[in-house]
Amino acid sequence: MSETTHPEADALIAHLQERFPGAVQPSPAPFTGLIVAREHLVDVATHLRDELGYRYLASVTGVDYPQGMDGLAPRFEVVYHLCQASGAPLTLHVHASREDPAVPSLAPLFPSAVVQEREAWDLLGIRFEGHPDLRRILLWEGFDGHPLRKDWHEVYYEEDHKPFESRYPAGEPVQAESRTPLGNNLRYPEGWSFEDWRPMVDVWGYQAHDAVAQEDNPDFPLERVVLNMGPHHPSTHGVLRLLVTLEGETIRRLEPVVGFLHRCHDKIGERNTWLGNMPYTDRLDYVCSMSNNLGYAIAVEKLLGVEVPPRAEYIRVIMAEFTRFMNHIIDIGFTGNDLGIYFTAMLMGMEERELILDLFERVSGSRMMCNYMRFGGVAHDMDEEAVALARELAFERLPRAVDKVDAYFTDNEIFRARSVGVGVLPPEMAVAYGCTGPLLRGSGVPYDLRRADPYSVYDQFDFDVVVGQNGDVYDRYLVRLGEMRQSLRILQQALDRLPDGPVMAGKKQALVKVPAGESYGRIEAPKGELAYYVVSDGGTNPYRYHVRAPSFVNLGVLGEICKGHLIGDVVIILASVDITLGEVDR
């Protein structure tokens, strides 16, 4: 089961060991991939990128092992997932001491590491040496400690793992709110006070402004101003703040400030039971809860080694593709909204979404928080009526909807005037920044996980990977439009061939025990690569649960693609990147 048993992986390890003596060793079972010595990380990564084609750094995260595991010393571990143009990712583990965790930063090599290393620093306190801008990203400066460390406890700490014995069965029933009263639930770092506090991000914003203000025109620096967009701006699709340095109306610098919706999803995930995480994944990208369910189910099934029955796989694909359709039509609608078409375009999307949500509600019991997938299948079967509704949608209704969107948008001169040539993302930059989904394919890179690293039953369907050419807002729109058509193709095939049979492998289990090991389950979510990195110590709760959110990583490139454009274009560039703040902030 471990990746290191593959002949290719063995050859790779042998090659790296020959090239970098003493730097690389295979991870001991049940872990997968390689352990790379800290000093050699940058060399090995450079070699992997330049010589072996691992050009896309999918995910960077950390794990805390205070007790050590399976004979290895207590440590912090940084886990990298590197990908080639196709195939499974290569996992690199780098160990750091528990007292002063520091590893060299990969941000100069892979810009996609910039935001992800900041997140690992923020939540785990691992220093990345050589990182250009190592600040907290999701939490604020007045937050005490690094919450994903195993010895960090929140103010109203109860227990490490659910089910909490403290809530069952002795004592008196207490309402959640009186268990965690307001007013006493904050803890500041030592020596920190509100009076002296000036948000670092603002200092940064003004410093950058000062710097760029003087570089061009030292005599008249007031030409440039810093503008705050959000966090309550209606076009930011949620609580997102953009710090913009402007010269006239032209953007010179832009930085997204995120974390307003942060609830430490990863820590909640470690407390929950394996199954208990499933409804929480719905709340990540709340537009696409079915896809989130699917990604998590796949990650855990890899560890469990269960075989999903064919009917369940088909139902999963059907749900995931309806979700993709829904996400894209809503995003195109929002783009229209941000362009000033007001609600016509968005309501066109909403109309179709409403019908898809009716189907989801009928099948899963909830419109948006579906909680539908289980390890080894799905929670409920699709009854005949639901299949009939799905067929009506996939064969009649939605194809007409795509044609309508196509007819109204594609040749509309206002839409084209605003979107052609705006927010251009060159393909090299897209790969370097770890962009995935329509954002990447709009730049002409045909990387779609359904093809590149097939999961579920996607290898059984006939569909095309849609790519753009120019990487601008208009091409991203075209990619979404094309993907909607491809989704319908997949849906039509899946509904025609929907097999009979059970929808669960074996009996549903409430408290699943997952064999020890790590797994990186990734899917092509509507917004890009959604991956769950889970580590199990063999218990009923995840040891580590990390979400590699596509919106979060894609947002890292926003500053680059907005540069040089007008302030009015920021909203449509943002709409074309397509983010959901529930997923960005986690």
Binding site: Y168, S364, N371
Partner: protein, 195 residues
């Protein structure tokens, strides 16, 4: 050269949709005998993917959409005949599987011998943190907890009223049969087969 054509067309779309939504509403208003526009017959057409046209506004709370059978509201406890004897055996499965840990059960004990009984003395659900995920109903081994169809649970204070006790949670099995007809029929068929 068609400068202005897309502009005109987009306004045409807006205008057409504006008019269409009223025409459709008016049609069903007349068909429904100048009464409700969202009768089951109307909804069968207006909500069906192949026949739906436009978006409609339901005049809540005067009118409501019907809920699908699997709709997950909030949990309720099922009793067969006597509210004093619910199906629940206080095994605690629901409390263990509940992700936000909002279920709190005390097992009853025999007053004479002190032996634990197979029924709950107390059963509380903190509805203020219940996330309506439905895992409790899915994993209850006795079919004693089901997801209800209530969604209007607003109260004027939040300190005590949102902690639902056993009395508040109990519903007769007829209610379950009424809101979950298919599931109830399946359960009944299965019970008959087991006998």
């Amino acid at each position: 050269m068609y400068i202005g054509w897309g502009f005109l067309k987009s306004f045409g779309v807006t205008a057409r949709r504006f008019i269409e939504s009223y025409v459709d509403d008016l049609k069903w208003f007349l068909k429904g005998g100048f009464g409700k526009r969202y009768t089951p017959e109307a909804l069968a057409v207006r909500q069906r993917p192949s026949t739906a046209r436009g978006i409609f506004v339901v005049q809540y709370p005067a009118e409501r959409l019907p809920l699908p059978e699997r709709y997950r509201g909030f949990p309720f406890l099922v009793y067969d005949e006597d509210p004093a004897r619910p199906r629940c055996t206080a095994c605690g499965m629901c409390a263990r599987v509940c992700p936000p840990q909002c279920i709190w059960i005390v097992r009853a004990s025999d007053p004479a011998t002190g032996k634990p009984l197979r029924e709950p003395a107390q059963f509380h659900i903190d509805i203020s943190i219940c996330m309506s995920c439905g895992l409790c109903a899915e994993f209850c081994p006795f079919g004693a907890i089901k997801m209800g169809h209530d969604y209007e649970i607003a109260v004027f204070e939040r300190q005590t009223s949102l902690l639902w006790n056993r009395e508040r949670l109990l519903r007769p099995v007829s209610y379950h049969a009424q809101i979950h007809p298919t599931a109830y029929a399946e359960e009944a068929a299965k019970a008959q087969k087991d006998e």
